[in-house]
């Protein structure tokens, strides 16, 4: 997602998840950027191999928690203490202990929304079309295939990239284009 919009990628499939992680590491050390791995489950050491910074999802979630708790407290105080004061058995109008349950629930609810939309937003999902889907064999990425995509950069020879990937153990290498031609 940090990569610039490009017109084509080199896609390589690897036989095992370990081969993929190793190859990704090597390619990153060689200076390739904006790469992405594709696998049916999270790879052991995959984020490190791609050199990703820590995810910002926890911060978005924390934002949700604080918003939820604050909203709930403000809502209950305003509604039951200020706008429509209810005297129930002489209990104080500002009965904070009674407001704990709803404050907790709303904090959890907004945290969950933060996580859900945070994960989707940071991943740029939903995204029904992506150029890698053009390659029929790539469909294995969600079931049993381990793929690496290397964006084609200006001034880099595609054949050269393909050779490098093959020497790292890629079982098949192909170029996909971002535009239908």
């Amino acid at each position: 997602m940090d990569a610039p919009v490009l017109d084509s990628w080199v896609l390589a499939e690897f036989a095992t998840p370990d081969d993929l992680v190793k190859a990704t590491n090597e390619m990153r050390l060689k200076g390739f950027q904006g790469m992405d791995t594709y696998s049916p489950y999270p790879l052991h050491g995959g984020s490190e191999a791609l050199g990703l910074p820590p995810s910002r999802v926890p911060f978005i979630a924390l934002g949700g928690t604080i918003t939820g708790a604050f909203t709930a407290l403000a809502m209950q105080t305003y509604m039951n203490t200020i706008d429509y004061p209810l005297n129930v058995g002489g209990r104080p109008l500002l009965s904070l202990p009674a407001w704990i349950p709803i404050t907790f629930e709303l904090a959890v609810l907004l945290t969950a929304f933060g996580v859900f939309f945070g994960v989707l937003g940071l991943s740029r999902l939903p995204q029904p079309y992506h150029p890698v889907f053009e390659h029929e064999a790539f469909r294995s990425a969600s079931t049993h295939g381990y793929w690496l995509s290397v964006p084609k950069l200006a001034g880099v020879n595609v054949d050269d990239v393909q050779t490098q990937l093959q020497s790292l153990g890629a079982t098949q290498v192909t170029v996909v284009s971002g535009e239908k031609e």
């Binding site: 997602m1 990704t24 992405d36 791995t37 594709y38 696998s39 049916p40 489950y41 999270p42 790879l43 052991h44 995959g46 984020s47 191999a49 791609l50 990703l52 995810s55 910002r56 999802v57 926890p58 979630a61 809502m75 209950q76 509604m79 039951n80 706008d83 429509y84 209810l86 129930v88 009965s95 009674a98 407001w99 349950p101 709803i102 907790f104 629930e105 709303l106 959890v108 609810l109 945290t111 969950a112 996580v115 859900f116 994960v119 989707l120 940071l122 991943s123 999902l125 995204q127 029904p128 992506h130 890698v132 889907f133 790539f138 469909r139 294995s140 990425a141 969600s142 079931t143 049993h144």
Partner: protein, 482 residues
């Protein structure tokens, strides 16, 4: 541990886990096993069960329509038993829902790897059970079309909800619980929906699963956010479960009624919820794993572990009963003593009370024996008994406390009508129908998580190196995958 791994199924080391995933699987064969059921044409058994559940769902439509047309006077509720079948079933269904979240969330946080094969199943159960639960308070209001009055909205009446009332807490707790469970379930489902999209046979399947999988392509950058997000959802779901059933118990405990007014209620209700929830998971999973060919991923070890949880929570529930009786005696309040020692045990509903004791206190103790914990017929019957027992518990708590409280002049007997029964059985139908559809349209086991587990087991096996990878993956390495 390495030495005993080869000794076969019987091992003397109590820390030796039994297999989590049958060792002969790789990613491809796991796909075939787990995705296959979705692609198969529905079999006779599925169609038959679906027919039964759909019929029961028809009963729900009938019961609800009749109630809406005539008013809740067609129920058996009376004065003083204003809360009867509707609240019994509400609490029962919510409780059943809790096992799903517990399996998903708490076991994930504790890194209990055996949860992987059963969490999808259990979460679906949560979702459907909470839907059934929500229906009851909604109907109980008498005029469900005004149910939005429970939410704080700027009404022309100029009134706001009363936030000191546990009933309003309930509205927030249940709606939050349903929403968070749905998000948790769906986000866990996305990678598997993508797998379904990519292995679909027809264009329609590809488009539909493509829509629901949101364009997921297993990108490392997506997994990076996904993993931490999933963990946070698990983290917040854990206290959420406890809070929801605690709040449900406040509906009772905050009153002054003998039989309800007890400080033991929140933990006792939570334990009861886990108890009935796990029992329901066993009830559903035993047949499902048999007919869907899931024995390789839902192993005997899973079932045994669940039975251990049932035993543990059953003992907590028994302790709860003991404490209720003890406090009634210790307080020497004549109303409490009447409720616990006279009315419940010897009154008009004594049969239900003793059935509850038999099902909830005596039955789970059978799981002290390994033979019972690992015997499919015994655990299935025991799990059903526990479900019955927990329903009886809610009946006892609600009906026996309400029908004879402080003033003998206001005592009365409660009898459910056919509408009560139809709606109750109807929600079983709703639950069953949704469950059958779930089994048919999405993988019942979280495939990506099972694969990840399989990979971890292999990694760990490679580190140990003393014996064959397969043996290690099967037997010894659940304690330290890294």
């Amino acid at each position: 541990m390495a030495e005993t791994a080869a000794a076969g199924a019987v091992t003397l080391d109590p820390l030796e886990p039994r297999p989590l995933v049958a060792p002969h699987h790789d990613d491809k064969s796991l796909n075939d096993t787990l995705l296959d059921y979705v692609w198969q044409k529905p079999g006779k058994g599925w169609l038959m069960l679906f027919g039964i559940t759909l019929t029961a769902l028809g009963g729900l439509v009938l019961g609800v329509s009749y109630t809406l047309a005539k008013g809740i006077g067609v129920w058996g509720n009376n004065q003083p038993v204003g809360w009867a079948f509707d609240i019994i079933n509400f609490v029962w269904w919510v409780g059943i829902g809790h096992a799903g979240t517990l399996i998903s969330a708490i076991l994930l946080l504790f890194q209990q790897k055996w949860r992987t094969s059963i969490n999808r199943f259990a979460e679906a159960m949560t979702l459907f059970a909470v839907m059934c639960a929500g229906l009851f308070p909604l109907l109980h209001t008498g005029r469900p079309w005004f149910a939005f009055w429970l939410f704080p909205y700027p009404s022309t009446l100029g009134a706001w909800p009363q936030f000191r009332s546990p009933l309003v807490w309930d509205v927030f707790a249940i709606s939050t619980y349903l929403t968070v469970s749905a998000l948790f379930w769906y986000i866990g489902l996305i990678p598997d929906l993508a797998a379904l999209r990519d292995s679909s046979k027809t264009k329609l399947q590809r488009i539909l699963y493509g829509m629901f999988s949101l364009g997921w392509r297993g990108s490392g950058r997506h997994w990076h956010h996904y993993k931490i997000g999933y963990l946070i959802l698990a983290g917040i779901s854990t206290p959420l479960v406890l809070s929801v059933h605690t709040i449900v118990s406040f509906d009772f405990a905050v009153s002054v009624l003998p039989g309800w007014h007890a400080t033991i209620f929140p933990p006792y209700f939570v334990a009861g919820a886990v108890f009935s929830g796990f029992a329901m998971v066993v009830t559903l999973m035993v047949p499902a794993r048999k007919y869907m060919g899931l024995r390789d991923v839902i192993t005997d070890r899973h079932l045994e572990n669940m039975n251990k949880v049932i035993l543990a929570t059953g003992l907590i529930v028994s302790y709860g009963y003991m404490m209720e009786h003890f406090v009634a005696w210790y307080s020497q309040s004549q109303y409490e003593i009447w409720t616990f020692y006279v009315n419940r045990a010897r009154g008009p509903y004594a049969g239900v009370y003793w059935l509850m004791i038999a099902c909830n206190v005596i039955t789970p103790n059978i799981f002290w024996f390994k033979k019972a914990r690992t015997s499919i017929p015994i655990m299935w019957v025991a799990a059903i008994l526990v479900n019955v027992g927990m329903w009886c518990e809610r009946f006892i708590i609600i009906v026996t406390s309400l029908h004879q409280d402080f003033l003998p002049s206001s005592w009365d007997i409660y009898t459910p009508t056919w509408v009560d029964w139809t709606i109750y059985i109807g929600t079983l139908g709703l639950f069953g129908t949704l469950f059958m559809l779930f089994l048919k349209f999405v993988p019942a086991v979280a495939i990506s998580e099972v694969k990840e587990l399989q990979q971890e087991l292999k990694h760990a096996a490679a580190h140990h190196g003393h014996h064959g990878v397969e043996q290690a993956a099967a037997g010894t390495l659940t304690h330290g995958a890294h």
